[in-house]
Amino acid sequence: MSDERVVTVPIGPQHPALKEPESFMVDLRGEKIDAVRMRFGYNHRGIEKGCEQRSYTQDLYLVERVCGICSYAHSTAFVQAVEEIAGLELPRRAVYIRTIIAELERVHSHLLWLGVAGHEIGFDTLLMYTWRDREQVMILLARLTGNRVNYGMNTLGGVRRDIAPEMIPEILKVVDSLEERVKYYINLATSEQTVIQRLSGVGKLTREDALSLGTVGPTARASGVDRDTRRDDPYLAYRDVSFKVITDTHCDVYGRTVVRLGELLESFSIVRQLIKNIPDGPIAIKAPRRIPEGEAVSRYEAPRGEDVHYVRGNGSEKPERVKVRAPTLANTQSVSKMLEDGYLADLPIVIAAIDPCFSCTDRMVSLRENDGNEGRTMSWEEVSRYGVEWHKARGIDFSRVRIPGGAGA
């Protein structure tokens, strides 16, 4: 059938294929995409303006909520800029702890993405496997920081919590376990023909387009762009560790999968090196409440690409200006190019393949026992056990399920 009529299909801002509110007006010729017009901003919350009206310490918690997944990336990018203006020299132990949390965050973010990608291509077993495995690092992060996301670890001049010696074996155990799982996923992604053929040639983005559109992170590296802020403009403790910047030249969703899986292995290696060499000493120095006049711009390789934070101080307790550039804003520019001349059915996985950011902060609640009184806050193990019992009571058979590091195994 040679029907040349163009039909415009609105997808979003609320749509089952999207995890966040975004709008895509898709012009179709048959099943093929002719052009895409995008509209963003539905989640804009005025955080930059909010920062100007709060103290630097309050802003630390506010910017951590820019993103629900890479919350630590924003908190650290912001605090680095403020510390540069204030001329603070951090204790090395604090820098190492920040780097360990940063890499564990990358692990949970990339595993989350792998599950979402599996779901978008109808491979829900992959979603179940990866999110089960991801629980190991989520539980670890909760034990290290007190929360699964939005860790509240940073403070001006260092970190708020030390890593206790007894936590070191736990970190290494999780890293070993997840490394084994990721090797399995790499084998799967590079040998399973249904995965390879479903992802290959989908969402093409040439190196030239990736460069001209300002694409960042794994999306750019999968188009052969050899850039990674951790290596190119080192911050935290990245000068002290060796790692490879993973690139790929497939320039499609398959390449984006290969890059993120490769980066997971590098993250495990980085965490091991940091654990081995973490110095003793204090975890914070005293920081002034009033930050001097000045400005700084901080770059941070978040899981999705480069975060950029600009901070301008005016000598008071509140910043004059805070500017945040999250990597998704940079990468959205490339989405319409990736979709051009592709099939409508590929739209969800192409959008998902830039790993757009969506909040998952629903664990930020205080879970209390319903004992009829005011109750007491439940421990992490109790919450885990409660969840298992709740599902058992509804007929779920847990006899063949292993819950990593959790109760009810």
Binding site: M38, G41, D233, V308, K323
Partner: protein
């Protein structure tokens, strides 16, 4: 002379920038200030002549009578050149989309949040404010206050 100092020296000799217009903050941070007439030449030389091919973002500032703009450029190897310029609030600056097509969304953000006028920015949907946001209402200006604060009468449900 370090790489960043060599870049600063070249800019100084080529454009005869006034004293204080160049500041090396550290090995990977250079700050450059220029008036808006000279801005396109300095910007073009940084991008095409000195390899600052990465546009990280654009920061807009309310500087009182003027709007300030910082173009955060970077090059492979890690050096970041932060090029500043300014114009009166009722003036305009030129678009950088001929150099960076992806700058479109950063410039639209300046238009919406600070009321910047950007010559040469093509038609397109606004970002990030909604289509029915009042004209002339720019939330990142220092004197901005919400014109209509949401209020609920006592006993009214929010979803009614």
């Amino acid at each position: 002379m370090s790489d960043v100092q060599a870049i600063a020296a070249e800019l100084q000799s080529r454009f005869s920038l006034p004293e204080g217009a160049l500041k090396v903050q550290r090995a990977t941070r250079l700050w450059i200030e220029t008036d808006k007439e000279l801005f396109p030449q300095v910007f073009d030389h940084l991008v095409k002549g000195m390899g600052f091919s990465i546009l990280c973002t654009i920061t807009g500032l309310d500087l009182g009578a003027d709007l300030g703009f910082i173009y955060h450029l970077a090059k492979d190897g890690g050096i970041m050149a932060n090029l500043k310029t300014r114009c009166p609030k009722d003036g305009s600056i030129k678009t950088i989309t001929p150099w960076f097509p992806g700058a479109d969304i950063y410039e639209r953000e300046l238009v919406d949040l600070l009321g910047a006028r950007i010559e040469g920015l093509g038609p397109g949907v606004r970002y990030p404010l909604p289509e029915d946001w009042p004209e002339g209402d720019h939330p990142l200006l220092k004197d901005w206050k919400p014109k209509t604060a949401p209020t609920l009468e006592k006993g009214t449900q929010a979803n009614e």
